[in-house]
Amino acid sequence: MAEMQVDVVGVEKKIWSGEASFVSARTVEGSIGILPGHEPLIAQLREAGVVRVDPTDGESFHVAAFGGFLSVTAESVTVLAELAELASEIDVAQAKDDLREAEHYIGESDDQEWRVARDRARARLQAAGESVEQ
């Protein structure tokens, strides 16, 4: 099976790096799945979104990526994010609390910051494998 070099890079450090056979993400224009040999592409990801990576060896995993970009060539995929968290590092209880709080405040005042907080909490939960209604 063909493989490609995948790097998930956050501002402060490289989150993950290795060989993978499949990457899927949501860009501002829609979902995208990338197999090795994809056409070169630079795409902007959703402000808060989930990236799935299927490594060549090992289980597939999810990453919550905020404010990210995707840079694709035939043999490599790079996810650049202002903040990126591996699913295994996400505190599910904390994210649930955040989501509840954000939704509570959105009802009261239609403030942008709470909406961002809600989207972030949702992305975290999705990455961690919890079911969230979108």
Partner: protein, 339 residues
């Protein structure tokens, strides 16, 4: 004589105490350097990849974007000055501020007004004392900066840069909210609310201390925006010219697809780019600050120890002189009695 000896002993004690304090500060700074250096290293992949993305997108024809083209007749330039919050770090802040003054002079020679964005308590104190107006002040994180701090400062800059040198920053939150609540949500840049009414700029410069090695840190001024693609390409070129697939690479880059189209992509890249640059400068500066402090404190400890050595010698002399005097007094006294 006895009084003199007591004074000397007191001075020795207090100097030793000072040496202990500076020694402790030296150790703290030393342990911070390696941490700060590691952060600089860890943040490098992001900066490198980001530059690559920008270049690729620029080649694909978004080259008339304000980020890439110098404005005609630039009127005003923003200068970001990265200093430390605390002192006791030798010439660290003085060097940055001197470099800043030099840059201000150069810009005014070119007919550009400067507006200051100052990071760090020492820098803000310097400009406040001289009654110089600052468009932005950010303090409280110079030793361990995180990305949120950088983003906050950088967003002020982006807002000013987008406004342009002849205008003022206007913050229009309401219309943004409407745009955001639309079905197809596009991520647009949102200016910080307190940036309202600040002068706009045509250029962004950063003055910070570059961490070159443990022993050398130099205050440097860099232009952040508009981005000088030519010179950066030269840097890269010298590195990659040895590899044979250079021409191959540029062929491939021409076929890049963009999502969304390059112009829109650039609009959302701009604020992130400024954030990344400011963050990188802050990390570099933090490492330099610790290194400068470590050196200053090492010098202070050495000086204190020298001082202690000299004082001990002096006090020994005084003690000896006292003893000699007492002996001669006793001898003199017994001689007088014997007669």
């Amino acid at each position: 004589m006895a009084a003199n000896l007591r004074v000397l002993r007191r001075r020795i004690k207090s100097t030793k105490n000072i040496a202990q304090i500076t020694k402790a500060m030296e150790m703290v700074a030393a342990s911070r350097i390696s941490k700060a250096q590691a952060r600089v290293e860890a943040s490098r992949p992001y900066a490198d990849e980001f530059t690559h993305v920008l270049k690729t997108a620029a080649k694909a024809g978004a080259s008339d974007h304000p980020l890439l083209t110098p404005r005609e007749e630039p009127k005003r330039a923003a200068i970001v000055v990265v200093t430390s919050d605390r002192g006791l770090c030798g010439g660290y802040n003085a060097n940055v501020l001197r470099e800043t003054e030099r840059l201000i002079r150069r810009l005014s020679d070119e007919g550009k007004e400067s507006t200051l964005y100052v990071i760090g308590g020492k820098g803000t104190a310097y400009f406040r004392f001289r009654n110089r107006e600052m468009s932005g002040q950010f303090t409280g994180f110079s030793e361990v900066p995180d990305y949120a701090n950088a983003a906050h400062a950088a967003d002020h800059l982006t807002a000013a840069f987008l406004a342009g040198g002849e205008n003022e920053v206007t913050v229009d939150w309401d219309s943004d909210d409407e745009a955001d609540s639309g079905a197809e949500r596009k991520v647009m840049f949102r200016a910080p609310q307190d940036a309202e009414g600040k002068p706009g700029v045509d250029e962004i410069h950063v003055v910070f201390t570059q961490f070159q090695s443990m022993m050398t840190q130099t205050a440097t001024a860099l232009q952040v925006a508009p981005l000088d693609l030519e010179s950066e390409e030269d840097d890269e070129g010298s590195e990659s010219s040895s590899s044979s697939d250079d021409s191959d690479g540029s062929d491939r880059e021409a076929e890049y697809a963009f999502e969304p189209e390059p112009e829109v992509l650039f609009d959302s890249l701009l604020p992130k780019y400024v954030r990344a640059r400011v963050f990188a400068a802050m990390l570099d500066a933090a490492a330099s600050e610790s290194a400068a402090r470590q050196r200053a404190m090492k010098a202070a400890t050495d000086n204190a120890n020298d001082l202690v050595d000299n004082l001990v010698r002096e006090s020994n002399q005084a003690r000896q002189a006292q003893i000699t005097q007492e002996i001669s007094e006793i001898v003199g006294g017994s001689d007088a009695l014997a007669q």
